[in-house]
Subunit: 330 residues, 2 copies
Amino acid sequence: MQLLTDRQNKILKLIVDQYIKLAKPVGSNLISKKLKCSSATIRNEMVSLEDAGLLEKTHTSSGRIPSEKGYRYYVDNLMEPKKMNGEDMLKLQIVFHNQQLALSDVITKSLQVISDMTNYATVVLGSTSHENLLKQIEVVPIDDVSMIVIIVTDKGHVEHKNIRLQDVELDEVKKTVGLINNLIAGTPIDEISTKLEYEIKPIIGKYVKQHEQLYNAFYHVFNDFTNQEVNIVGRNKFLNQPEFSNVDKIRNVFNKLENKEVLHSIEEDDDNNIKVYIGKESNIDEDVTVIKTKFKNGAEEGTLAIIGPKRMEYDRVVSMLEYMKENIER
Amino acid sequence: MQLLTDRQNKILKLIVDQYIKLAKPVGSNLISKKLKCSSATIRNEMVSLEDAGLLEKTHTSSGRIPSEKGYRYYVDNLMEPKKMNGEDMLKLQIVFHNQQLALSDVITKSLQVISDMTNYATVVLGSTSHENLLKQIEVVPIDDVSMIVIIVTDKGHVEHKNIRLQDVELDEVKKTVGLINNLIAGTPIDEISTKLEYEIKPIIGKYVKQHEQLYNAFYHVFNDFTNQEVNIVGRNKFLNQPEFSNVDKIRNVFNKLENKEVLHSIEEDDDNNIKVYIGKESNIDEDVTVIKTKFKNGAEEGTLAIIGPKRMEYDRVVSMLEYMKENIER
DNA sequence: ATTAGCACTCATAAAATATTAGTGCCAGGA
DNA sequence: TCCTGGCACTAATATTTTATGAGTGCTAAT
């Protein structure tokens, strides 16, 4: 990337900021008022910026809007990681300083707050099932035939399943649970199905009546374990953004957000810092930007993301995410 | 309601059916082709039906569309509870005959199928917190300071919360849990907070160290218990319906669907049969219809609902819901 | 009672016109 | 060489005009 002149940087920044604010192509006149030179000069510079691939026009005589590359340049070079404004900070502080709340609730609540403040959607992704180790399973009988199996992982992820077992005595179930807790606690969740087969199946065959049925039931319970906790807040905020005023666009975005694989792809890279995926990079929609970071606090770890229009308040969102991460990690 | 002539009934039914199919106002010509009389005759009858408040026009010279009252008349008097078509039936059978699945999973899966087949959203509402009795609580320690509290109700509803307790010994926690399980199991969830105060607080004061902290923690756990399990499937289906092609409409519907109170109102009446709430009656949007029924199978009970445009395939949906209810209840 | 016929209405689409915010480029001045 | 005022030009947007057509209500004849 060829370096731009000082003035070009200033112009680009002004255009991006302005476009983010109003969602309308930015003309040379407006910029010339903010910089002390004529609109013709600005127009000349705009041509250079367009040649560099940083700006685009919506039609031959329109003002300019930032290209994807333009946003990228803005994020990497121009944007000043603006301090969080006092009001935003205060609202988050209230959540963070609530000692009653467990970490996961603090995260959910604060993302709710952020979503309301910014009008963007927010996401928490928990750790994946191969990072979660089985801590303990519990069984609670409900009636003659059904019972609840509860799985707790070392990261505090809990999942439960209602199972039906005909003609199986509760004692036998408890024996099986005891064996699982003793023999395979500590195993990554996604390896449990196989471990059950090779380490539990042979043993319960000896000690436990109805072992077939029991084995099958537990096999399914672990096999169905959701491999990742996903929590989206404020999906509907997209409906307030002008670039998503048409239903086809909305449908695309909402379908992508329901698709676990898409969300999964957000946390793929291992970078620990804040990362920005602009437009097509988001894998969601060319008009969507995702800003994410990983967090880790003791056992709990995962990914936070803010998802909004490409025309997003990058500086504000980045500083909020930084603030979140800091607060979560201590 | 004044009775209509045979022919008027036929005409009204044809208009509603046609409008449901194509979402376009229905003209006299089309109807005259299906009945053996002239379009002028049909027009005269249409005037009567409009006078009776059963039909409406979108403008002075447009065809007719059913009014809310018209839909109501159709549902109550005209609609023939159409047998389910073979294909629909087959797809649902596959889910119902899967012996592996617990009832709650069968319900979720089949509603998913129905949503895909019909392009409408579906909802399951569990029983409310005053109908759920505490069955058992369990505690799983995660690390020095945090642990998971799991609440299981007699209806098989499970909820968990991550709590933090500084300087509290695990034994003390277990003692408290034991007391709760012995003394207040069987209490409706929404009465537990008060019972904790009057029956547990005085006792743990004697037996348990750090009783203040423990009491507070458990108090919050029960207080935060979600008072109802709500599961919406296929919310996005609304985006495929022509009457929801504008974002304001979508925003309204989606916001209402996120609002627990609105969904709660669906299950208010105690009628055990299938009920149809048309348009404004739905409390969601004048273009939305909700069709619901209660179900009960042993301990598990709740409400099923299908939510779609007012221009809904009433006969098909009613027969599907009937079928669901039957299959769930045995 | 039914219906053919006809004037009338209004939504929808296409074409014509005006307005305006913006552009690119040129030629003259610092 | 860089900057700027001036000007012709472009295309989106809005407004008006005109045409088309699917539908109606009403009347008079069957």
